[in-house]
Symmetry: C2
């Protein structure tokens, strides 16, 4: 079995704090450390961890990668992600349905990002609450998986409004589900005309080159202080 070599930190939401101020604070810390951070959001079981594992594999020779695994409970994902080659911290939200900026800051401080180039926050599996809280991440990426259906932007609009990129995940199972990619793109364009939509499959690697290309381009922009 795999040795657990990461910290497990209990983080707590404080609704009295000013999240806008805290997220600005996280952004400053990231800038200072030259760390590009992605807030990865999706439903439970949409494939966040599998996508992260493949992403780490594709980027780890190029960047030093850190991952903050946020979960209500358990540490199964943190083990998986650590084995893929990332520096990992497990954050337990103790029932909280989202990560806010203060919780993110706590995680960043405990993980220590001085030896990291790219940091991923795997948010709680939830299409509602995480969309409401700016964690201070450089970019927000949402995964909508094919089995969930193409109509989710209609039902959970805020997530699709605030995200910078949408990955349509699990494209390899298209043959067994009714998922209309063009319809989904249209719903998304109505909410967020500027958002790019990339169909991918972490299992087969379909579309992954475009996702990695997007990341590398955004990391570059961030480093040139254009973001």
């Amino acid at each position: 079995m795999n040795k657990i070599e990461f910290d497990i930190l209990e983080v707590k939401s404080n609704i009295l704090n000013d999240n806008d101020r805290s997220s600005d604070n996280v952004r400053e810390i990231l800038k200072k450390n030259n760390v590009f951070m992605v807030n990865l959001m999706a439903s439970p079981g949409a494939g966040k961890t599998t996508t992260l594992v493949k992403t780490i594999e594709a980027l780890k020779d190029r960047y030093r990668i850190g991952v903050m695994e946020a979960d209500v409970d358990s540490d199964v994902d943190a083990i998986t992600v650590q084995n893929a080659g990332a520096k990992v911290i497990q954050l337990h939200t103790g029932g909280s349905c989202h990560m806010d900026a203060d919780m993110t800051k706590e995680g960043i401080e405990k993980l220590d990002i001085s030896d990291i180039d790219v940091l991923f926050l795997e948010n709680i599996g939830n299409l509602v609450c995480p969309a409401e809280f700016d964690t201070g991440a450089t970019k927000k990426v949402c995964i909508l998986s094919v089995p969930e259906g193409d109509d989710k932007p209609l039902k959970y609009p805020l997530m699709f409004q605030v995200s910078d990129l949408l990955l349509i995940g699990k494209m390899d199972v298209m043959p067994v589900f009714n998922f209309d990619v063009e319809a989904c793109k249209k719903y998304v364009a109505d909410l967020n005309p500027d958002m790019e939509v990339l169909p991918v499959s972490a299992r087969t690697g379909e579309g992954f080159d475009k996702w990695i290309e997007w990341l590398v381009k955004e990391i570059q922009k961030f480093r040139e202080k254009e973001v």
Copy 2:
């Protein structure tokens, strides 16, 4: 196109209210009207609406069925469910990630349950927050769909602790996913030893007889005031 013949009600969560008292109040209203109510919870896209449609079809000659469709936005599911033969109300939660007992009561009053035997609440697609709020429903049913993975009870334990029945949904796509039903049952048994687990597919009808049998038995118990 289908004519929309249901009300759309904006409901709001009031965190200052005592949810326990309100849920007792909902239970009294249900008892008084002899209405058996199911709080149906699951992730986005787990198949709540499809399961409801098949359930309505199986039960509508036997019971008068009502459905409260809770969504952050949109009314696509309410249209679908109305076409299946249920009396429907669409509840918009205005961003709220769950239904509480007061919102449920508002919905019940607006729907008018005097001509209903069985009432389903399709909760917001979310494995975290809805588990925290007792709506006053007679029974809580959770759907975990095969594409989400068998490890979800580890990550979202409360949902599996509070539910009375777990449906493992989308069993027809088992061949294309790694989902270990026995492992899932074990995780669930550790959290909630008394909960029954029924594998079903709304698409093929697999296991649906057992789910309908469970419902009919529980409705009977409720009517005999054993619940």
